[in-house]
């Protein structure tokens, strides 16, 4: 979805410094678009959310929410958080502990002059719409982790803001609560047509929900695009790790690709020499109990670190010195009966290895 002009829920050019981290980033969220912000810890993701929310000020650039500029140091514009048309769901929710569920949800209406009665009525409607009407009268401390997050989302969308900020919505939830909340978010956030800027570590969630992805590393956007575009050719090891791609730095010597002394590969049509970046699609690696013979293939002895089922696909990760992420069909994984700590053989076709010279 491409938005233009004032159709952006968020159009921002950030420039600021937090401690040792200099952040420079351009972020856009179209109306109704769900945009994920990915990146390692300390990359500045939450800082960007706090700038949009108004907890922090940028030192250069501008932040425009639905056509209204709320922070532009050059033009001397600054709007405090309460004047910005946003909803924010904090990583730890921050439901007000001295109010029950319905008064938490009704809070923003009360701030805008609604009577207690009408605010509560509207809050009850929102809870009903989100399918959690039964929580209405509950005190905050009786909510489960997942319910707390649902109420926090309800509280921040009741006024239908044009932009919703979500900071790590899945953090702190167990597997069941996490999958429930993912379904909740996918169904509701998509339906509400509210622009969303979301910080998360969960790749499946991003693939399920996000229209576009920004990757922020050390304060800089290193990658952006649709989630599926990131997989085949990652720009950085972080993106590779996130997308489940194998990405290494290595050397080409005498027609041989060396990643480390025990990890050397044959590559078809090798035309470069010197330092290179190597990426291997996890799906083009196969696993065997015995070393295969004869063909011009790469046969590597590997030790299994973890086996994780992703539905039809099973993801297998192996230990150093040959760390590989291998995606095989769950059927063949069951046939192989792979267990952690087992010694197996990985086979990589020479034509499936992508080698690019490293720009120095």
């Amino acid at each position: 979805m491409i938005a233009s002009g004032n159709d952006y829920a968020l159009e921002a050019q950030f420039e600021l410094r937090r401690g040792n981290l200099a952040i420079t980033a351009n972020i856009r969220v179209g109306a109704g678009e769900i945009v994920a912000l990915l990146g390692p810890n300390g990359a500045g993701k939450t800082t960007l959310l706090e700038c949009v929310a108004g907890a922090l000020a940028i030192s250069n650039g501008h932040i425009t929410i639905s056509g209204a500029t709320v922070d532009d140091p050059g033009a001397g514009i600054w709007q405090p958080p309460e004047n910005r048309q946003i909803g924010m769901v904090f990583q730890d929710n921050l439901l007000f502990p001295h109010m029950n569920v319905i008064d938490n949800v009704a809070f923003s209406l009360r701030c805008n002059g609604h009577s207690k009665k009408s605010a509560r009525r509207k809050a009850a409607e929102v809870l009903l719409f989100l399918g959690v009407a039964e929580l209405e009268r509950k005190p905050i401390e009786e909510l489960s982790g997942g319910q707390t997050k649902q109420v926090a989302i309800a509280r921040s969308i009741i006024q239908e803001p044009s932009l919703l900020l979500l900071d790590e919505p899945l953090s702190g939830l167990d597997a069941l609560a996490s999958s429930k909340l993912r379904a909740f978010a996918v169904n509701n956030l998509k339906a509400l047509q509210i622009g969303c800027l979301l910080v998360t570590h969960d790749s499946d969630f991003v693939v399920e929900i996000a229209d576009r992805v920004y990757v922020l590393e050390s304060g800089i956007v290193t990658e952006f695009g649709q989630p599926d575009d990131l997989r085949p050719k990652p720009n950085t090891p972080y993106v590779a790790d996130f997308a489940g791609t194998n990405s290494y730095n290595g050397m080409v010597r005498n027609g041989q690709l060396v990643i480390n002394p025990s990890f050397q590969l044959q590559v078809a049509n090798l035309s470069t020499v010197g330092p290179v970046n190597v990426s291997i699609n996890p799906r083009s690696i196969s696993l065997h109990r015995n070393a295969s013979q004869g063909s011009p293939r790469n046969n590597l002895p590997v030790v299994i670190d973890s086996v994780e089922s992703l539905g039809d696909i099973t993801r297998i990760v192996t230990y150093e010195p040959t760390p590989l992420v291998i995606d095989i069909t769950t059927i063949s994984a069951n046939e192989l009966n792979v267990r952690q700590g087992e010694h197996l053989w990985a086979t990589i076709k020479a034509t499936e290895i992508d080698v690019e010279p490293l720009a120095l």
Partner: protein
């Protein structure tokens, strides 16, 4: 969760020192209770002097505690938020009455608010109001020593408070006033209450600043501690009876405070 007994068991030295500490606090109370003549206790307390002092003590200490909450809460919040160099100065000034001998505090009040004091003189000349020797004087002396308890309690409570609750409420459209009344103050309620109770207890036991600033006039400014002090020179049994009354009052405050804390933790 219960720890296994082997973990709960403290070293002998610690247990001995702890018992000594506890004994040291219990012994004086035992002395009071042991020396009292219980048969005449009620009769002693029905004395007009005691009833007057009780009434003055209760009303003035409650008034001081309420004023301490009224002014100490904003001061505590302000102190938690001020980060410039003046905060150190401000904090020292606020702490001073807790460390200062109350007699010194009373003298300071006399020099400032007395009929001939820096602020008291213009007050007297314009309104004819004299603060010493009055019930208001007792309240002022109590307030001086009790205020820091509310300020400190609220300040430390505010420091423990997650400031992002305010950001959360601001992002929901709450302006500064609503953030204060709907979020900050309710979240600070336990600290305000604890500070208020401590202030009340401190005001109830106030002696030095009161006798120095407000004087000792039975029926007007003589509080229970002042009455004990006077009775010690004349009638030991009466002094004991008043002391026991004060112990019960203080115990009531302490128990209220504990119950309050337990219900919040």
């Amino acid at each position: 969760m219960k720890s296994p007994p082997s973990v709960q068991r403290l070293p002998l030295v610690v247990r001995l020192a702890a018992s000594t500490g506890a004994l040291f606090l219990i012994i004086p109370i035992v002395g009071l209770v042991g020396k009292a003549s219980w048969s005449s206790l009620l009769l002693d307390l029905k004395n007009e002097l005691v009833l007057d002092a009780l009434q003055i003590s209760i009303t003035s200490s409650i008034a001081a505690a309420l004023l301490a909450v009224l002014f100490g809460t904003p001061l505590g919040i302000a102190m938690a938020r001020i980060t410039n160099k003046w905060s150190v100065v401000l904090r020292s000034i606020v702490l001073l009455p807790m460390i200062l001998p109350p007699v010194v505090g009373g003298s300071a009040l006399l020099f400032a608010l007395g009929r001939n004091g820096i602020f008291g003189k213009p007050l007297f000349q314009t309104t004819g109001l004299i603060l010493p020797y009055s019930w208001a004087g007792v309240v002022i002396a109590n307030l001086f020593v009790a205020l820091p308890f509310v300020v400190l309690s609220v300040e430390s409570g505010h420091r423990l408070l997650d400031r992002r609750y305010e950001l959360a409420s601001a992002s929901l459209g709450a302006g500064a006033n609503r953030r204060l009344t709907s979020i900050t103050l309710p979240l600070l309620r336990p600290s305000i209450l604890a500070g208020g109770l401590l202030a009340w207890g401190r005001a109830l036991g106030e002696f030095g600043a009161t006798i120095t600033f407000a004087g000792n006039m039975p029926g007007t400014t003589q509080t229970l501690p002042l009455a004990v002090y006077g009775a010690l020179e004349t009638d030991r049994q009466l002094a004991l009876a008043i002391s026991l009354l004060m112990v019960s009052l203080s115990l009531f405050i302490v128990i209220t405070m504990r119950q309050h804390w337990w219900s919040h933790r």
